[in-house]
Symmetry: C2
Subunit: 123 residues, 2 copies
């Protein structure tokens, strides 16, 4: 696992380029607080995002991390989505929409991030 900080910064940039307001929360991972690595808004859409960067083909995201996304979303009366974004081998960006609190394994074969954002942008 690589440090996720660089991937988080790149993700914020990507989202801003697509018309989202986006921000990275520094040092959110070690904390027990219900905070995502990155969050973004566009109108009443709120994205709570866990970011993983890896040289592997798959990476596990623990239930505790997933729970933080939903806890964060629960603060806001908005149209919230919990996402896990993966950066695989420094070039392949993917996204998984998370539906419930459980351990999940994301893969480099998940949905392409840029296509996903594009789709959201059209809404």
């Amino acid at each position: 696992m690589m440090r996720g900080r660089e991937a988080e910064r790149e993700l914020v940039k990507k989202l801003r380029e697509k018309g989202f307001k986006a921000v990275r929360i520094p040092a959110s991972n070690p904390s027990a607080e219900p905070l995502p690595d990155v969050f973004a808004t566009k109108g009443d859409v709120l994205l709570a995002i866990e970011v993983k960067s890896t040289w592997e083909k798959k990476v596990k995201v623990r239930e505790e991390q997933v729970k933080k996304l939903f806890d964060f979303l629960s603060f806001f009366p908005l149209n919230g989505m919990a996402l896990v974004v993966g950066k695989f081998k420094r070039r392949r960006w993917t996204v998984r929409v998370v539906e419930k609190v459980e351990d999940i394994i994301i893969s480099e074969d998940d949905e392409d991030l840029d296509m996903f954002i594009q789709k959201l942008f059209k809404q």
Copy 2:
């Protein structure tokens, strides 16, 4: 100036006791990101809060810190309020509602925090 971390934790506790969802953002101050020390929600009310703890009677809050509160609020289509909360001499809690981006000086004679929260709670 004392470290604000303890005051931030106490403030989160106070807000939760009054029916808000509240969370502290660790390490938000050194960051250039548009993040408050603490934020809280109740229905469509969103509080973005800078917290100052001091042994003095007054304390200055810099324009850059105030700007972060408004930048954070601008992410959300909610009823946002920018607040500076002071903890003076470890016992007197005050609040100032900030209306615009500028240097401000808060004082131990500002509005009592508990009364202010109580008022919000009744809305």
